[in-house]
Structure formats: C-alpha cells, structure tokens
C-alpha cells in the first residue's frame, strides 16, 4: 500500500448543502493541494474519496461501512447525528473520528473516548466563550445577574448539546436562559420563534444554527428589529451566505470562529495555484477564504498534521487508523508549524493530549460589517474550569449508560 | 340436490299460501328524504317467511333506498321496521348482517382485489371465530376452521357452477359472473332474508334463466326469504309470490303478480303499454 486513504464524508446535497458544500470544498482542496504540491504527506500520496451523506445518519453509516474496509485513516462526519453513530464503532474498528468543533462534547475526555477527537473546542467551550464575551460587554460576568439570554437552536442533538453548560452558567451567574428550539423541518419558517423573542425581549441572543436555519434566523431578527450587535452565533452560524442574507441590515451580527478569516494565506494561494487553476476542483474561486471554506481547510490541516505526526512516531509511511490515533493524540500545531504551512494566524496553536482530545483552545469573535466578516475580538479562552469537570462527568455517565463501555487499552502516559 | 342445499332444513312440506305465513319483516310508515329529495314517503309493507317478494317501480322510485333502509345503511326519518317480531332500533349495517340479512348490490360491490373463492369466504366472516393468535399459528384450530368453512363455500361454488373461476380475481370477471359471485357471497352468510338488487341486470336470457334457477332453488330448498328488485317483468312475474310497486317514493300497488300487472296505475307508471 503506497497511499494513505482518507474518506471524506461530505454533503453537497440536501437541506444542509448550503453549509456543507463550503466545508467539503475546503477539506477536499487542501488535501488535494498537498498531493499536487508535495506529492502527499511524507512522500506518500493521499487517496481521497468523498462519500455523500446528505447530512443523513443512515447514509452516513452506509458511507462508513462502505469505506472503512479500504483502510480508512480517519472519519469527519460533519454531522452530530452521524458522529454519535460512529462513536461506538470507532473503538471496534480502530479508526479515529475527528469531529472538529462538533459532535459529542464529552468525547473530549480521551481516557473514556480514546478514538474520538474534537479539537480545537467542544460546544461547551464555545458556549462558555459566548457567555464570557457577553459578560465582557456588560462589564463583567457578575453583571449578567438578572439579564435574559435567549438561545435559539436547531432542535436536534447538535443544538441541544450546549444546553447543560448554559444552564449551569445561568445558575452560576444568575442570568435567565430562554430557549427557542427550531425544528429541523421548520428551519425556514421561524416566525413564531422570533415573535417569542420579541415578546420576551432577551438582552442577548445566542444561536446554534446550521444550514438554511442561519440565514432565515438572521432575516427574522432583522425583521423584528432585534439589535444585531446583541446577536451571537456559534462557529457554525458564521458562514458568509448566512450573514449575507441579512445584507446591510445584518450589520453587527457576531459569530464565534476559530479558523482564519479571509484568503491572505499562503496555503490558500497554493490551493488556488495547484488545485483550482489546474481544474482539479469544482470550488467556486470566490468562495475561497469564506469562513466555512477555511473551516474545511483547517479540518484538513489537522488531518494532514495527524498523519505527519503519526508517520514520525511510527516511522511508517503508509499508516493505519491506529497509527493515526497516535498521531492525533500527539498533535501539536504550534505557531511555527502554522507558519511553515503558510497559515500563520489562520488558527490558534493547538495541542492535543491523551486525556484532552479537544484542548479548549481560545476562540475569537467575528462581526459582519454588511459586506464581509471582520475579526472583532482577540482570542478568548473558554472557561475550562467549568467545562472540564462537566465533560468528565458527562463522559462517565456516557460510559455507564453504555456499559460495558470498553476501557482504554493503553492508559495515558502520566 | 347438492350438499349445500341439503345441509339445511328444507322448506315446510305443504307450503301455505304466502299471505298466511309468518311475517319476517315489517316496514311501517317509513319515510326517507335526502335534503329536498323525498326518496321514500310513508311506505308500509311486509315480507313473509319463505316468500319471494318483488319490489318494482320506475327508476328513482326508491327501491334501492328501501333495501338500504332495511339493512341499516340509511336511517329513515320516520317509521319503524319490525324484524322477526321485534321493533328494530336504529342500527348499524353490520348488526343487520349479524341478525341474518344479506344482500347483493345494484352496482356490483364485490371485493375487487380478491379471488372468487375469497369473496365467497368473506361471506362467512361472521361465522368464523378463531382469534388472532390461532391465526398466527395457522396449524391446528385456525386451519381446521378455515377448512370447515371452505367446504361450505365449495358447496356454494358447485351450486352456482363457478368452479372454473375459483381462483380468478373478481375484478376481471365479466359482469354476469360477478353478479353470480355476489349471490354466492350473500348465500355464504346463510341469511334468513336475502335482498337482491337487480340481480339480472345486464344478463342475457340464458344467464337470466340460470340466475332464476338459483334464486328458486335457494328459496325452495333452503327456505330463505328473498326480496327482489328487478326490471325484467318476465322474471318478476314468474318468480315472485307478491309484488310491491313503488312510484317516486310512494307505494302504488301491492299484491300477487297477476293483480299488480293488471293494475292501471302500475301500467301507467312503470310498465308502459307494450307489456
């Protein structure tokens, strides 16, 4: 075997295609660029295969089953639903799952979930950053007391994931958490939710949306004249198309982000040169540098670095899923390395450890200026002190509920 | 004459004149209207045990509606129906069926997706009782019951001479055979009163003769009381014991066929001159 096989579970069709396409393009183009520019990683080409899931759990599992036998190194399901299905399988098939900034928050506990990675952050990290940021705006977290924070979310595993943390923080800081679930089927029909928002007049709105839910929500917010600068989305509500739907009126809308804004990065130029200009991709060149495209690129950077690290650790060129896990657990994407990759400032340096598969890395806030996204804050550290214990408890609970949950075979070195 | 007919008590030997026989069903002052349309106005008549009672009248006279009233599909606004001596409350069609009233329909109402055999078997629904769990197992009691009833049904099939189409889906049968199957299905219910709505419409002479034969056999050897709607006067005159004539919801004559045929009112309203 003289290649490393990386299946990409993507969705360019279905109701979530709007977000999925950019991610898929970013992931694909970066890895493709490595093949073209460097002849792969460590001298071994990457065998890429996209499998269309349509954001559908059944199809996702089907893709998994169809590709795992070909020596898949890692899976990126890009759907919390699919991730949940793959979590128990990963350990059995010994193929890591990389759910970058989504999936099961508890999976950050590497002792319980040795095969699952959610660098750079879990949803709980993200939610804590949002609250922290709101606190800053209000002049300190203690000022949150008595405030109302609305939480509008896609009513699925994905949107509900942060609720336990938000509830805990609400208790801790004394703000009131108002929930506005948006059923998947009603993504484009949110007038009731926003009417409720209008009635409740929350001081801030936090959004966990995906796909067509995002632009609709932003339009509705504009419609009810909700102050946009008090409206903050998670990193998945940060697409260019999402905010563009509100146009000028959406000015001030904010979202979390952990991957670079814009296209002034060497790696992106290489993509343009080796992939786009060579006609090896279907990507619309204008979308390069978009939030979600860059997110996809970052995802592939982590994959590539994981492979590279694994090659270094094992001395093999063509690696296996097990090697890949070792690589990911030893992932250390520091500033120097980012620079080397032509991605200086593209992301906060990240480091994965055996215990902590997420890392709780800092995140920043970006703001829509009516035309495009602008970075609006420095890197904000998540409240790891709150998040981490919650994660560990959740991981334990998961293991108990799914008893007998397999023990980690080789304990973490410490 | 065959197993099926011999199976049940034969009609009483010395047939009394139909007028003296016991009343099986009595309709008293029944009126039925649909919105503004009066389908039946204040009609009374009776059906006696063992007779063939014909109901005739021009189109839209209310004959079919009358049958619908009798077996509970329509509920008359006024009037009562006495069945076997008891005044019947408003009841559902399936109750009428369980009390022994079976019928055929003017527009064939067979179960189109089923075979002839299944259609006739369906007439035995009320008589089969094995519960769901026996049905699941099939072997044993459920199967025995099925076979037992299948035998009865086969007798009917023999009787109606439709062996050849036993396994044919009825939707594909020509009209005449469908009518015959429908009769078989009604017979399978072993009813006390059999209501036939134009059983011979759309048949040629030969088939009408066959059908007449079946009706007479059922009536005579099986003792089943029959109410018959038919537009073929030859058939009505030859088969029926008594005839009731409706005209736009009203009763205009009631009596033995010859009498009715001679009545001027009937000739004007229904028969026309040539008959």
């Amino acid at each position: 075997q003289d290649s490393n096989y990386v299946p990409l579970l993507t969705y360019r069709t279905g109701p979530y295609a709007g977000s999925g396409i950019h991610i898929a393009n970013g992931m694909h183009d970066y890895l493709k660029m490595l093949n073209e520019r460097d002849g792969g990683i460590g001298g071994v080409k990457l065998a890429l295969e996209e499998c269309e899931t349509g954001y559908d759990a059944q199809k996702g599992v089907e893709c998994y089953e169809a590709t795992k036998g070909k020596g898949a190194l890692v899976y990126n399901p890009y759907s919390t639903g699919i991730t949940l299905q793959l979590i128990p399988k990963a350990g059995v098939d010994k193929i890591p799952v990389l759910s970058m900034g989504y999936g099961l928050s508890a999976a950050a506990d590497g002792t319980t979930f040795p095969w699952i990675f959610n660098v750079p952050d879990t949803y709980w990290d993200g939610a804590s950053v949002v609250i922290k940021y709101i606190g800053e705006q209000e002049g300190g977290l203690e000022n949150l007391k008595g405030k109302k924070i609305g939480y509008i979310f896609l009513d699925a595993g994905y949107g509900r994931e942060p609720i336990p943390l938000l509830e805990q923080l609400a208790e801790k800081y004394g703000f009131e958490l108002l929930q506005y679930p948006v059923p998947g089927a009603e993504m484009q029909n949110q007038s009731s939710q926003w009417l409720n928002v209008r009635r409740d007049r929350p001081d801030y709105m936090v959004m966990w949306g995906w796909g067509a839910m995002n632009p609709t929500a932003i339009k509705e917010a504009v419609k009810i004249r909700y102050p946009m600068d008090k409206f903050i989305g998670v990193w998945w509500s940060a697409g260019d198309d999402d905010a563009a739907a509100g146009g000028q009126d959406a000015k001030g809308y904010k979202a979390l982000n952990f991957s670079g804004v814009g296209r002034e990065f060497g790696a992106l130029d290489d993509i343009q040169k080796h992939v786009i200009d060579a006609g090896l991709s279907t990507t619309d060149p204008e979308t390069i540098g978009g939030t979600l495209y860059n997110r996809g690129v970052l995802n592939s950077v982590i994959i590539a670095e994981g492979i590279r690290t694994a090659q270094e650790l094992t001395g093999k060129k063509a690696i296996t899923g097990e090697d890949m896990r070792l690589g990911l657990e030893a992932l250390n994407l520091d500033e120097a390395r980012l620079k080397e990759l032509g991605l200086e400032g593209f992301a906060h340096p990240m480091k994965v450890t055996c215990e902590d598969h997420a890392g709780g890395h800092p995140v920043f806030i970006q703001e829509w200026d009516g035309q495009e996204w602008q970075q609006a804050s420095g890197w904000i550290e998540p409240m790891t002190d709150v998040v981490r214990p919650l994660l560990e408890a959740a991981a334990k609970e998961y293991a108990e509920k799914n008893a007998p949950w397999p023990e980690r075979t080789e304990p973490c070195p410490n | 004459m065959n197993a099926f007919v011999a199976d049940k008590a034969l009609a009483p030997a010395g047939e009394p004149e139909s007028a003296e026989r016991e009343v099986l069903l009595r309709v008293d002052n029944v009126s039925l209207a649909f919105g503004g349309v009066k389908a039946i106005t204040d009609i009374s008549f009776d059906i006696r045990k063992g007779e063939i009672r014909a109901i005739i009248g021009p189109n839209g006279a209310g004959k079919t509606s009358m049958l619908n009233v009798i077996n509970g599909f329509y509920h008359p606004q006024q009037g009562t129906i006495t069945w076997q001596g008891k005044v019947r409350r408003k009841m559902k069609p399936y109750e009428a069926a369980s009390r022994g009233i079976a019928r055929t329909f003017q527009n064939v109402a067979l179960f189109k997706g089923m075979t002839t055999l299944d259609n006739i078997m369906s007439g035995r629904s009320l008589k089969m009782h094995r519960n769901f769990f026996w049905q699941l197992l099939w072997r044993g009691p459920a199967e025995r019951e099925e076979i037992e009833h299948r035998k009865k049904v086969e007798d009917i099939i023999d009787f109606l001479e439709i062996q050849a189409i036993r396994k044919t889906p009825v939707g594909r049968l020509p009209y005449g055979l469908q009518k015959r199957v429908e009769l078989g299905r009604a017979l399978a219910m072993e009813p006390d009163l059999l209501l036939l709505d134009e059983p011979m419409a759309g048949m040629n002479l030969e088939e009408k003769e066959d059908m007449s034969r079946f009706i007479i056999d059922v009536n005579q050897e099986f003792g089943t009381t029959i109410a018959l709607i038919e537009h073929d006067m030859g058939v009505v005159m030859d088969l029926s014991d008594r005839v009731v004539v409706l005209d736009y919801g009203k009763k205009i004559a009631d009596g033995p066929p010859e009498e009715v045929q001679a009545s001027q009112a009937v000739i004007d309203a229904y028969l026309g001159v040539s008959h």
Binding site: A57, L84, K401, A403 | Y94, A142, R150
Partner: protein, 358 residues
Amino acid sequence: MFYREAGQFKTSYKSDQALFPILQDRIGMIAILLIAFVLVPAFANDFFLTSIMIPFLVFSLAAIGLNVLTGYCGQLSLGTGAFMGVGAYAAYKLTSIFPDANVIVMVLVSGVFSAAIGAVFGLPSLRIKGLYLAVTTLAAQFFLEWCFIRIPWLYNYNASGAIEVPHREMLGVVITGAEATPIARYFAVLSITALIAYLMANVLRGRFGRSWMMIRDMDIAAELMGIRPLRTKLMAFAVSSYICGVAGAMMVFFWLSAAEPSSFNIRLSFQILFMVILGGLGSLGGAFMGAAFIWILPVFLKFIPGIMGFNVAAETVQHATFMIVGALIIFFLIAEPHGFARLWQIAKQKLRVWPFPY
C-alpha cells in the same frame, strides 16, 4: 412450460390452502431460505451484510408492516417512520429498564407499544378516509417526532438527545452494540424478519386478512357483510404498527446502533411507502422486492462509477441517483402499477404458456 401446475392435483383443501400450493414455488422458497441462512453468511463481507442485507431485511419487515395497513386494509399511512420510532424508543427504554432481559425478546415486545400508539392514531380512520386519512397520519408522524425530541425520559436524558444501543449478549454471542459482529446481527434480523413474515402470511390468508381486504376493496359492502369497520381498521393499525415497531427497533439495535429523532422522519415514511407500492400493494413477496429495489439500487448506483473506473464527484453521483431512482419509480409505475409482485405473476403466467405468447 417450465412453470406448470398441470399434473399437481390437490386432493384436499388443506393442501390447496397451503402457503405455496405449487411445487416450483416451494422449491424456490427453500432455495431462498438456504441462500439467506447459509450462503450469504458464508460468503458475504461486512459491507454487504451491514449496509445491504441488514437494512434490506429491516426495511422489508417495515414494508410488510405498512403493507398490512395500506396494501391489505387500504388505509394509506404516511406515519410509518414515527411508528418505527416508537418501537425503537420502546426497545431502548425496555433494555435500559430490564438490562438483563434477552434483547431479542425486548425487541419483539417493543412492538406492542407501537401497536398501542398506532391503534390510537387509527381511531380517526373511522370517519376520515383516503387521502384525507393519509394526511392525518402525518399528524402522527410529526407529533411523535416531536415527542422523541421533547420527552427526555425517552432517551434517558442523554445530552445528545440520541439513543445509543447498549452492549447485549445472547447465548454468549454479542448481538447488539458496537462489538456485535455483522454476522450475529444479520442472523438476529433475518430470524425475526422471517418469523414475522411467516406469521403474517398465516394471518393474511385467514379471516383477518380477508376482513382487511374487504374493508380495502369496498368498505360499505364489508360492513353490510358483518364486518365492524372500526374494529377491523384498528386491528390493522395495531398489527401494522407492531411490525413497524419491531422493524424500527431492529433498525436501531441491529443496524444503526444509535439514532436521533430525525432517523424516523418523514423521509423514512416515504421510503417505506415506496417499497410497498413498487413492490406491490397487498403482497408479502412484493414487500421484499420493493425493499430490495428502493434500498439496494441507490447503494449500487453509488458505487457504479467507482467500479467502472470513472471519477465522478460524490454529489453528482448523488444527484444522478436521485434522478435515476425518481425516473425508475415512474417507469415501473407505468410499466406495472401493481408493482413487482404483479410483474412476477405476469412473468409466471408467461412461463406457463411458454413458448406461446399468450
């Protein structure tokens, strides 16, 4: 000529009423069972088992369930997905409440819950008919889906809102959970599907099957023959939902091993309805054929370009699959509105008269 009943005389009603009165059919059935129980497990790889055979069997069972209601009793339902969901959630709750009970038994029991719920949603069928009823079954679909999301008790308050299948063994073999081998899961699914299909074949040829078909073909006439419409329809709803419930439980326990509420959404309902209609309304064999077509064809289409060595983008394949499946559905409906089951019958008819055209 090849397919002939001639010379096979039935000497008793018993043999005439057997499931497969014709010798060729019996041989065929035995062959299919042999393949399913022996050949497939012996030669199939994991992908074939987990992504083709197991879902195929699960969907076949669900299609049988819907067929009881729609094909046999004539009540069009668009709520199948939700009824499957009820089964899945019930099985999940049962296994977590009774951790030591045999999981197969739990799966079979879970159907009882969806039967009960199915019967409740069947109540309006007394008054509401045809397409109107179909649309009201959507009420069941959306309401139940909402329940799966909003009643955390159903998913044991898991943060993810999803249900995850626990690890269970039977006779020392792991049959559910991630460690269960595809073979073990395949056998579980196959046995349950075969058993229920057999039992349903019994019911459908007996008095219940007949009374359902009577309601389907002409409900008024059925009522005049002594069938109680409500009771009969509710029975059909219950039996159908039971089977769908078991199928739903199997879907999660033996195939997906975890499920979100959206796994039981309206698309699933449609998928099953397709199987039933393309397979042939009112035919058990048709349910299998329909499931094979609707499930296996897209999987197959997806891999054709790869096999043939073309490099086609995944989404193009997906688009093409949609178009091809859509077009084939229309094509088959036009070719034979009564489904594969009828095509099969016609084929047999042709074989019977072969070599003459008719």
